[in-house]
Amino acid sequence: MKNPEAVAQAPLTPSASRAHWLYLAVAVLALGLALIPLFRVRGYYIDVLWQFCFFAGLATAWIIVGGFGGMISLGHAAFTGLGAYTSTLLLLRMGVNPWVGLVIGALVAAAVAGILGYPCFRFGLRADFFALATLVFGIIVYELVNGLPTITGGPYGVVVPFAGNNPARFSFTSRSNYFYVAWVYWLLTVAVAYLVQHSRFGLRLMALREDEHAAARAGIDVGKVKLAALMISAALAGLAGTLYAQYYLFIEPTEIVGLGLSVEIVVIAIVGGISSFLGGTLGALILVPLTQLLNIYLAGAYAGSDLFIYGLILMIIIRRSPAGIVGLLRRRFPEV
């Protein structure tokens, strides 16, 4: 019964010294990114930084439900879209301050997630059918936004009026300031995911991912825990919608509600590693610049070749480390 090798390997407490290096690396990355705009770099680079924060934040939000809870959502862009359209329409029709709209948009996304999730989890929909349900949900939201032009502007989208340099109304003349808002958003999602991963709630979520029957036997209200995870994730995804609308000053269904964005979120999360609060960050750190590079050097020269190479690189990463970049990091840092 006793395994001497295992005894030798088992530390009484996980080593804390290495965890410090990990957190230090995250802090250096965050501060390093925040310093870049101070060096008067070209606007294009600020845009890439903004995109990093946007996608890293969305993928991190996705991981809370898709990674920790094992419930793959293929319709997460719908939550982002709900956030974007809620705050934008409130601004256009009722003059609601976009900062307020940001919060209301997140709440609307969470509420809709509740309406979607309740029947799914109450009746114990299996994870694979939940993925299909979210896919259909994403399509329905897209079709609704697309098909109600009197309310949403339909396929032509909505132009968000620019309010000049007015920080109180989420409007800046400097691009960098939008980046700093996105930077805060990214770190917020990472902090929330960290807290979930290291809490009793997160442990319950991971337990039901492993075995729902055993989780129920442990007294865990499986449906309630899943619903909470989905609503938290949707709220965070909803925040990104307003960030997008205020930054680009234009939203249209294909970009912000469509399946394309949903898939992009999932791909970034998987490449980074869906079992860690850092997965979204690592995925975006690789894929956002990669998309840009391929776009610059290949898309113009040979149409479609950028996507071909993109797919190839994805395959290599997944082949080398099925658990994503996080899987590689875990060998040295079990705390990731």
């Binding site: 996980p14 492993e210 055993a214 036997r217």
Partner: protein
């Protein structure tokens, strides 16, 4: 002290304390098939009660109904004076029913420590209790290992430990001896006796007849979904009908 919550003056498991679990006329149909037919069983508080019967006689179905994973077609389950028939499994678990499955259902991607902490009741010093249970099961040296690396017998011990974390009043054990080597089996039996000494009620499905005879104060026999016999182990295991149905004459 591993098992907390025992009441003073209760021990030994032989006293008359009334029944903690009453199966009242439970039937279960699957399509045209009757898996359980008007089964009536009482399990006395603090006792070790054995549930035996040939494969397919409905033993595991009955455990599924008690723990809420299956709903009965007819009848009621009364636990600790409350009707728990058809409740959600997590509610029945919180009411104090701990189920150990036939196949070790543990969280393989987690460490032993995490496995146990998931089962902790809200409040109290959960971590200290985890260590107590790990020491009780002699698994403490593996606390921070992934549960994936455990032997089958260790996995089953871990699962027992998980159920102990919940501090249940009633423990449903489904074939605890299956697939466990004889040396470990002696440990498992001693653990079960120890739990009964501390006032837990044990309801146990087991095919190992010597083990049942050795461990249980009462034995209930199911055959084709019907209650065939019940009583003390000696009487039941020598019953001609039981020998014919179960032991093959």
């Amino acid at each position: 002290m591993v098992v907390q919550g025992e009441r003073p003056g209760v021990g030994g498991g032989h006293g008359f304390m009334g029944s903690i679990l009453r199966i009242e006329h439970i039937s279960k149909d699957y399509g045209g098939l009757r898996a359980l037919d008007d089964v009536v069983i009482e399990v006395e508080e603090g006792s070790i009660t054995g549930l035996i019967g040939p494969n397919g006689s409905g033993k595991t179905t009955l455990f599924d109904i008690i723990s809420g994973f299956t709903r009965p077609t007819a009848g009621r389950v009364i636990f600790d004076g409350r009707d728990i028939t058809g409740q959600m499994p997590f509610r029945i678990a919180r009411a104090g029913v701990g189920r150990v499955f036939q196949l070790a259902r543990i969280f393989r991607g987690m460490t032993l420590f995490q496995n146990l902490i998931v089962y902790a009741k809200p409040g109290g010093d959960a971590k200290q209790r985890v260590w107590e249970i790990l020491r009780f099961l002699k698994l403490d040296h593996l606390a921070h290992q992934s549960a994936q690396g455990l032997s089958y017998g260790q996995q089953r011990l871990l699962e027992l430990g998980c159920v102990l974390m919940m501090e249940p009043k009633l423990i449903l054990l489904d074939e605890p001896a299956a697939g466990i080597n004889p040396a470990l089996l002696e440990d498992v039996m001693e653990h079960i006796r120890e739990l009964a000494r501390r006032g837990k009620t044990i309801f146990i499905i087991e095919h190992n007849i010597p083990l049942v005879a050795n461990l249980c104060q009462r034995v209930v026999v199911l055959d084709s979904g019907r209650l065939l016999a019940e009583g003390d182990p000696q009487t039941v295991l020598n019953d001609a009908r039981v020998r014919e149905a179960y032991l093959g004459g």
